[in-house]
């Protein structure tokens, strides 16, 4: 099957989307998929972007005869994987060491698919912030409260307001408890 966009290359990526309730099938070659990706139309289709990116990158280094595994380049000293192998595994890496081995390529992929380059979330051995979940719930209840007020559903609004108050009191109490614990530990 030929690519819908360039009508030249063999289509290797097949995407089904729903437009106005109608099913639309799109068939693309790797190159055109990359173009579409740049335009932002593929980004969030549940579509394996990493696969395309790695495909493209290993394509750059591969010799003109792609019959055998012929990418000279880098080999991970830990697991022995090459870019070609990563591509064949849909953009999955062989081991944690691959993150170092293929660092430039991976940071390219991360730059395209992630929001930032630095982890700011929880870490092993360190507890998640105790009030994290409560904070989330309070945010959500506040949105529900605004919404209820907007709709003039005052009974519901009162319910949300009370729930917010209870949660805020609870998290303030546990904060105080943690503070005294810290104090007495000193």
């Amino acid at each position: 099957m030929l690519c819908d966009r360039c009508k030249k290359n063999e289509a290797t990526i097949h995407i089904e989307t729903i437009h106005d309730g109608k099913r639309v099938k799109t068939n693309l070659c790797a190159e055109c998929a990359r173009h579409e990706e740049k335009e932002g139309s593929l980004a969030a289709l549940g579509f394996n972007l990493a696969e395309v990116l790695f495909h493209q990158m290993s394509g750059k280094t591969s010799a003109p005869a792609p019959e055998k595994e012929s990418v000279p380049g880098i080999v991970c000293p830990e697991c022995g994987w090459t870019l070609e192998k990563i591509r064949r595994h849909n953009g999955q890496l062989g081991c944690a060491r691959c993150y170092e081995t293929f660092a430039p390529m991976i940071s390219d992929v991360i730059g395209k698919v992630q929001k930032g380059g630095v982890h700011t979330g929880k870490r092993p051995g360190q507890r998640a912030r105790a009030d994290g979940a409560a904070k989330l719930e309070i945010e959500r209840l506040k949105r529900l409260l605004d919404d209820a007020v907007r709709r003039e559903e005052y009974e519901n609004a009162a319910r949300f307001r009370d729930a917010i108050r209870r949660l805020e009191e609870k998290s303030a109490a546990s904060k105080a408890k943690r503070a005294t614990k810290k104090e007495s530990a000193r």
């Binding site: 289709l45 549940g46 999955q92 890496l93 081991c95 992630q114 982890h119 929880k122 989330l136 719930e137």
Partner: protein, 357 residues
């Protein structure tokens, strides 16, 4: 722990449907799920590990997962020793991914008795920890899964990088390794022709839209799974906060679309619901995709109080009982596609004849 068959779960209420009539925006948000991807340090990822290595990894994980860590009795399932029907049952109960049930060497699944906590060993990553519940309740899920992850992290050395966070087999999951997803039932947005624009809007916000069973599955029955795309660069709470705001908005859109449809085209809406009910109540051959579509119609009718004698529990039970694995489990043997359609129709007729269960 001795490996079991899927039979041990069949008496349970399905985790993501249980108590679905208890509020939490359940009429539109069917269920919420959070998955955390973790890998053991110094071990090759499952894709490059030998069968022997994967067995070693799954033993190491299974050894530390006990009732205390999971907060309840734990069941163990080994993909290699399960029948295809049993594996389908695990997928339909949303405990295992479609990719996982096809794996063999060292692919083990640990499930807490209530099915709300589960862990796939040797899927794409060594560990995929999952928490799932009915309705829209991400904060409670995050609190629970994070606590279990803390306990796991004290017993197992995770692959972690100061800058990149939790290292995962695919760089699309690196960082928090967290995917949150909410399954939404959006029939009114579909009927009113606004679903295309809605899906595009969601995608612009960097969220993924998928069918019921995740990657590669379609949106049968007007069910859509929305999940976060980014896993690195924001904390878990920031990701969940942003994500929840979008879901709240989508729930509102659907609610408004339902009210508008009922007001503008009352008979159109009643017809949609009535036809679905009619087909399920009287048909003698019912393919799986068609069943899901009609169950969507009946579900929206129940949500909007258009039926006097049918409750959401009945719809939920049919939803799971009509899927291939459960259908064959219930029949006690493997069925051909044609036999399944006949059996599926029979179950629907009987259940809807009874109405309330």
């Amino acid at each position: 722990m001795t490996p079991e068959t899927a039979d041990v779960l069949l008496g349970n209420e399905v985790s993501f449907l249980a108590g679905a009539d208890a509020g939490n925006g359940c009429d539109i948000a069917i269920s919420s799920r959070i998955r955390l991807a973790r890998n053991l340090a110094e071990m090759p990822f499952p894709g490059s590990a030998s069968d022997e290595m994967r067995e070693k990894i799954s033993d190491a994980v299974a050894d530390v997962v006990d009732p205390r860590l999971f907060g309840g009795k734990v069941h163990l399932f080994e993909m290699a020793s399960l029948s295809p029907v049993d594996r389908d049952v695990l997928m339909e109960r949303r405990l295992a991914s479609a990719d996982f049930i096809r794996r063999t060497g060292g692919a083990k699944l640990l499930v807490r008795n209530d099915e709300r906590i589960s862990l796939m060993v040797n899927e794409e990553d060594h560990i995929r920890l999952q928490a799932i519940r009915p309705g829209f309740q991400l904060p409670a899920l995050w609190e629970e899964i994070s606590r279990i992850d803390d306990r796991l992290g004290r017993k197992l050395p995770f692959a972690f990088d100061e800058k990149l966070g939790y290292l995962t087999s695919c760089p699309t999951n690196v960082g928090t390794g967290m995917r949150a997803s909410v399954m939404l039932h959006l029939p009114a947005l579909t009927l009113s022709g606004r679903i295309g624009a809605t899906v595009q809007g969601i995608q612009k916000l960097n969220l993924a839209v998928r069918g019921i069973y995740g990657e590669g599955s379609d949106n049968r029955g007007n069910f859509y799974q929305i999940s976060n795309q980014h896993t690195l660069g924001e904390s878990e709470e920031e990701i969940l906060g942003r994500f929840s705001a979008v879901i709240d908005q989508l729930i509102n859109f659907e609610r408004e679309a339902r009210a508008a449809l009922l007001q503008k085209d009352r008979f159109g809406m009643l017809d949609f619901v009535g036809r679905s009910f009619g087909a399920l109540r009287y048909a003698y051959k019912m393919p799986g995709g068609e069943a899901l579509n009609h169950l969507s119609g009946v579900r929206v009718g129940v949500d909007m109080h258009l039926f006097e004698n049918l409750d959401i529990r009945c719809v939920n039970e049919l939803w799971i009982a009509t899927q291939n694995g459960h259908l064959q489990k219930n029949a006690g043997r493997e069925l051909s596609a044609a036999e399944r359609d006949v059996e599926r129709a029979r179950i629907c007729r009987e259940k809807l004849r009874q109405g309330r269960n």
